[in-house]
Symmetry: C2
Subunit: 180 residues, 2 copies
């Protein structure tokens, strides 16, 4: 099937959302659709990518090659979305040099030079809580602009660096709240 246009009604069905809300939300960013025809799919996809700023490539480093780190590195959506994990680091001697997916684990000492050389803008922290602040400081020193922290601890970083926490406990607690 080669679908060229899509209506807000069809989008609403797929996304389980109100079509009027979809039209309103998209209209906020410009005139993308035409009455009675809908949206041209390829144009809409391009526009949404621009709106979400996912039309550009950003290199990502991951620190902590445990199960969570490996799971994230294998998460193929990252690369499809132009956010590629291009380097993986750990400080455990038995992990350094091992390979999974396309990655060979590098020693933490190489963090600074590799981030500079590969123009890495984002660091993902998947080390244990006790090591996370130290890793965050290394990332900041190395010049990353954003940190996604999976360690269950609050990190302090300069205001110039974007920090986002992805504490998996929070999600589970938030879900549990609504369960009787």
């Amino acid at each position: 099937m080669n679908i060229r246009t899509v209506s807000s009604y069809e989008l609403g069905q797929k996304l389980d959302m109100n079509p009027a809300q979809i039209r309103k939300d998209l209209a906020y960013f410009g005139e993308f659709g035409r009455k009675g025809i809908g949206y041209e799919v390829s144009y809409l996809v391009e526009k949404i990518k621009q709106i979400l700023k996912i039309d550009r490539h950003l290199n990502v480093a991951l620190i902590g090659a445990g199960h969570l780190g490996i799971a994230l590195s294998n998460y193929n959506r990252f690369s499809r979305e132009k956010l590629s994990i291009v380097a993986v680091f750990d400080n455990a001697p038995d992990k350094i040099g091992t390979t999974f997916g396309n990655h060979t684990v590098r020693p933490l000492e190489e963090l600074g030079p590799v981030i500079a050389e590969m123009d890495i803008r984002i660091g993902i922290i998947t080390v244990p809580a006790a090591a996370a602040q130290g890793v965050a400081e290394r990332l900041v020193d190395a010049g990353v602009r954003g940190i996604l922290n999976f360690a269950p601890i609050s990190l302090r970083v300069p205001e110039t660096v974007q920090l986002r926490n992805a504490d998996l406990t929070t999600e589970l607690q938030a879900l549990a709240y609504y369960i009787e």
Copy 2:
């Protein structure tokens, strides 16, 4: 140190929040603090647990014993917070029967009876996207009240079941949005 009371100012310092906002938020739930003294720590902790409904125990099942599943099972915070992963399932013959942490991976066929027997209320889905809807339906049939979905796909469940998505891609994209 045996700290018995804490002021909203001290809490604000630790949490990087406005003390007035902390007082206001807590006052919404009752009179916990005393002017000039602050909050009695043990009482406040108890109250916050009640407010967040984390003062009760809920059993959790995890389906999908890949890297992400193992990482979540090992995440020690879950048990500390009274949300315990008590059973792990997979359908891969090479995983069934293997052990990690306190868990022995069970075959997916046992899902229904184990959920009933152990009074499991929440299921965490860490299977590949293609298998996730099928697993969600099994969980619903087995009677869970909530699902935390890590598979990068939209799931359909009845309205009586709470669904929460923890797509790791979204976190990374949200972070990337703010990076120049």
